[in-house]
């Protein structure tokens, strides 16, 4: 009498499915992170350019302020408005 072997149980498909899902999810996550990084890169790039532009504006404004406060200009304006250094005797030194 021969014994008939019982067929083995088919392997579970849950684990591969979960693995596949996990891999896909991980890939998607990585993709999303990369996309976010790229978007942040664009944003940083724009901010960087804006900072440089503001720095340049700041430099130009400082330059303009310095030119407006230049001794040569102020001396010319003083002459125009009749201003000048005090004459001897016009300054009283307080003890």
């Amino acid at each position: 009498m021969t014994r008939r072997a019982r067929p083995a149980a088919p392997p579970s498909k849950i684990i591969p499915a979960m693995l596949a899902i996990a891999i896909v999810a991980a890939g998607f996550a990585i993709l999303m992170v990369r996309l976010e990084v790229t978007q942040e890169g664009y944003r940083l790039s724009a901010l960087k350019i804006e900072i440089r532009n503001l720095d340049n504006s700041n430099q130009r404004l400082k330059l303009a302020a310095a030119e407006l406060e230049s001794h040569q200009r102020l001396r010319a304006l003083a002459a125009k408005y009749g201003l000048g250094p005090p004459a001897p005797g016009h300054v009283v030194v307080m003890p």
């Binding site: 790229t38 940083l44 960087k48 400082k62 310095a66 406060e69 001794h71 003890p95």
Partner: protein
């Protein structure tokens, strides 16, 4: 084992081997790609995805001691083209707007494009609008890059100190050159990823890095004092017709240069603009009589003469070694103070001879003549001081009154600073500190003592003697006076050397004045030099007023108040001057008169005595009536006031043309106000010719002797 199974297994084995071989081949290829071709392939990949950006360095700002900016950098755009491609892709008519955008003519544009170069600049440091206009034309092979341009917001203020930076950001002169490596900064190259459309993607913190800016230089210069110095100096250069002028303002105790002004005569008249040359540091001149102050200090220090020793000044003319040395006036016996006060060349020559060549040379080199001061500016000259073994007797005598020696203005100012500070030679400097972009200190200069040249008491004696030059009745530097302050200094007038003949120009002079203020507590040493003025432009007449103006402005700027009590010092010649109630009461020494014979015995101490002046004991004060000053020179008016114990207040130059109260009017407690102006050719209507000739002293003699001095090449004043 059956046959089919064996065959199958053999095939499997072969397949396995084949696959293994393929894997080996793949591994080999991988190794080749990774290890051998890797760098090349990586480079190709980088060029596809990345670009390199070079961030231009920003030159650091240069500011004065109070933080006022003297040099700044700001971004500008520069437009370039690749000529061959541009010429191939456009017509001359299409390129004409490009020329207009960058501000050049079409002809000039075509000329630049015709150069055999792969790259040409069409415009450097343009305004952003200009660069945008050029780019917006859409011409192939035309582009623009950002660069930093150097701006000098104060225009030419302290131009020779600050210097100049070139178009490519390199220092060319001044501290821009001296501290170029520190100020220049460092460029930065960034690897930037970009997408298919060329948009930058900053995905690395490194990409956020900025170019390393240059250091911020803080100068010792005070912009306000500098402005005053340049302004007053330029005014005098224009008025006197000088070819150029220089002024130096030093803190005698630290060596800090508070102002260093160079005015070119042409620039002062609005013709040229030169930031590349620094006369005060790079040009030497014969110091003339300003040498006498140094000579006196060396002679006292070496005990060659005693300050009160009488020296016969040969009545204005002395023959020595086949040459004749002249004085401007006839002088008999004078002590060192008198020699300095009246600026006697003969007296100075005799002191130099008494000192000897070696000791005189050693003293001058100790004062810093003939060697660089070490100032932190490029191209400093060392002047000219020959070795003493080459000095002939007449040359030794000449050196005593500043002939045959050449100094830079900075050297002379440093030497007088040593007298002012008690005998110590300080190294001058113009940069006080340097800071990086984060504010960290990179450099700080502190006062540096180079050497002691004379003892403090010797320096003090010379200090006292130099006050007589400004305040004494026969002093040559009256116009250097500063209201409410005591000034010590020395005038100098020297003929210019004619390089063609090796002699001297007859009518071309260098006029100078060097001094310090307040004399009791020197805070400022000021030197003024006017180059190439015509005859009659003595240092006391033209350089001294500039000294006074600069000193007044600098004292006010530095909040230096006059001493509460007037300085008391042992001068026989100080009289009240410049108004003020204190001026009407001469102190005990006022009234000292020179009464000795022309040729007293050796060591006779009786040349000066205290007593009533020749003008009597203030007869006008007794009568209460104002004397007649009209038609008098400044010096003569000065002598009259001194003789009568009166206080005067002077305005203007030349001769007295008005006074208040008028002659004969009652005197009040206020000083008598005198108005001076150049006399018309006909003279003063109210002053007789006899009187004018009787009072030929003072400025009369100045001017008269000017002609004599100019007529003779050995005159110094």
């Amino acid at each position: 084992m059956n046959e089919p199974f064996k065959k199958r297994r053999a095939r499997i084995g072969m397949l396995t081997l084949a696959l293994a071989g393929l894997f080996v081949l793949a591994a080999i290829r991988l190794a080749i790609v990774a290890l051998i071709d890797g760098p090349r392939l990586a480079s190709i990949a980088r060029t596809e995805h990345t670009e390199t950006i070079t961030l231009a360095p920003v030159r650091g700002p240069i500011v004065d001691r109070n933080g006022e900016p003297l040099a700044l950098s700001a971004q500008a755009r520069s437009v370039f083209a690749r000529p061959r491609r541009l010429l191939e892709s456009s017509t001359a008519a299409e390129r004409a707007p490009l020329a207009a955008a960058v501000g050049i003519t079409p002809g000039e544009l075509e000329a630049r494009l015709a150069r055999p170069a792969p790259f040409v600049w069409l415009g450097r440091h343009l305004a952003p609008e200009q660069a945008h206009a050029a780019e917006d034309l859409g011409l192939e092979s035309v582009g623009a890059v950002s660069e930093y341009k150097r701006f000098y917001p104060e225009s030419n203020l302290a131009g020779s100190v600050v210097g100049l930076a070139g178009t490519d950001g390199q220092g060319l002169s001044g501290v821009e050159l001296q501290y170029d490596r520190m100020v220049r900064g460092a460029p930065v190259e960034l690897q930037i990823y970009h997408d298919a459309l060329g948009h930058q993607i900053l995905d690395s913190p490194l990409a956020l890095k900025n170019a390393e800016p240059g250091a911020r230089l803080e100068l010792t210069i005070d912009a306000s004092i500098q402005s005053a110095a340049e302004n007053y100096l330029a005014g005098e250069v224009v008025q006197s017709g000088a070819r150029r002028g220089a002024a130096v303002v030093l803190d005698p105790f630290t060596g800090e240069v508070l102002a260093l002004a160079n005015v070119d005569g042409a620039a002062a008249r609005g013709v040229t603009d030169d930031r590349l040359h620094d006369t005060a540091v790079q040009d030497a001149f014969e110091p003339g009589s300003t040498m006498k102050g140094l000579l006196g200090a060396i002679a006292i220090q070496d005990h060659a003469i005693a300050p009160d020793r009488q020296i016969f000044c040969e009545n204005g003319e002395w023959h020595l070694a086949g040459r004749t040395i002249h004085d401007d006036d006839r002088h008999g016996w004078l002590d060192l103070g008198g020699i300095i006060e009246v600026s006697s060349n003969i007296g100075a020559a005799k002191i130099a001879l008494a000192l000897g060549a070696d000791r005189f040379y050693d003293g001058l080199t100790a004062f810093g003549l003939g060697r660089r001061t070490g100032i932190d500016l490029p191209g400093e000259a060392s002047g000219l001081l020959r070795a003493p073994d080459k000095w002939r007797t007449i040359e030794l005598a000449d050196h005593g009154f500043g002939q045959g020696v050449a100094v830079t203005p900075m050297q002379l100012a440093v030497a007088y600073a040593a007298i002012a500070n008690g005998g110590v030679v300080m190294r001058p400097y113009v940069v006080r500190a340097a800071y990086d972009a984060g504010g960290h200190e990179l450099l700080r200069h502190t006062p540096q003592v180079l050497r002691r040249v004379v003892a403090p008491d010797v320096a003090h004696q010379i200090n006292l003697l130099l006050r007589n030059v400004v305040n004494g009745p026969d002093g040559t530097g009256h116009l250097a006076r500063v209201a409410d302050f005591t000034v010590a200094g020395k005038t100098g007038t020297a003929q210019m050397v004619n390089p063609a003949t090796g002699g001297y120009f007859q009518t071309r002079l260098v006029a100078s004045f060097v001094g310090f203020v307040p004399a009791d507590d020197p805070r400022l040493v000021i030197l003024v030099v006017l180059y190439d003025v015509s005859h009659g432009h003595f240092g006391g007449l033209f350089a001294a007023p500039v000294f006074s103006q600069i000193a007044s402005a600098a004292l006010a700027r530095l909040d230096i108040a006059p001493a509460e009590a007037p300085a008391s010092y042992d001068t026989a010649s100080m009289i009240p001057f410049g108004g003020g109630s204190g001026g009407s009461a001469p102190d005990a020494v006022d009234g000292v008169e020179r009464r000795g014979s022309d040729e007293p015995g050796e060591g006779s101490p009786a040349e000066y005595s205290v007593g009533p002046s020749s003008g009597g004991a203030a007869p006008d004060m007794a009568t209460g009536r104002a004397p007649d000053f009209r038609g008098e020179s400044l010096r003569s008016a000065f002598a009259i006031a001194r003789g009568r114990g009166l206080a005067i207040d002077v305005s203007g130059d030349g001769y007295v043309v008005g006074q208040k109260p008028p002659p004969g009017a009652p005197i009040t407690s206020a000083p008598i106000a005198l108005t001076l102006a150049d006399l018309p050719a006909t003279g003063m209507p109210s002053a007789s010719a006899e009187r004018r000739s009787r009072h030929r002293s003072a400025a009369h003699l100045w001017r008269a002797s000017a002609a004599r001095a100019v007529a003779h090449p050995r005159r110094r004043r």
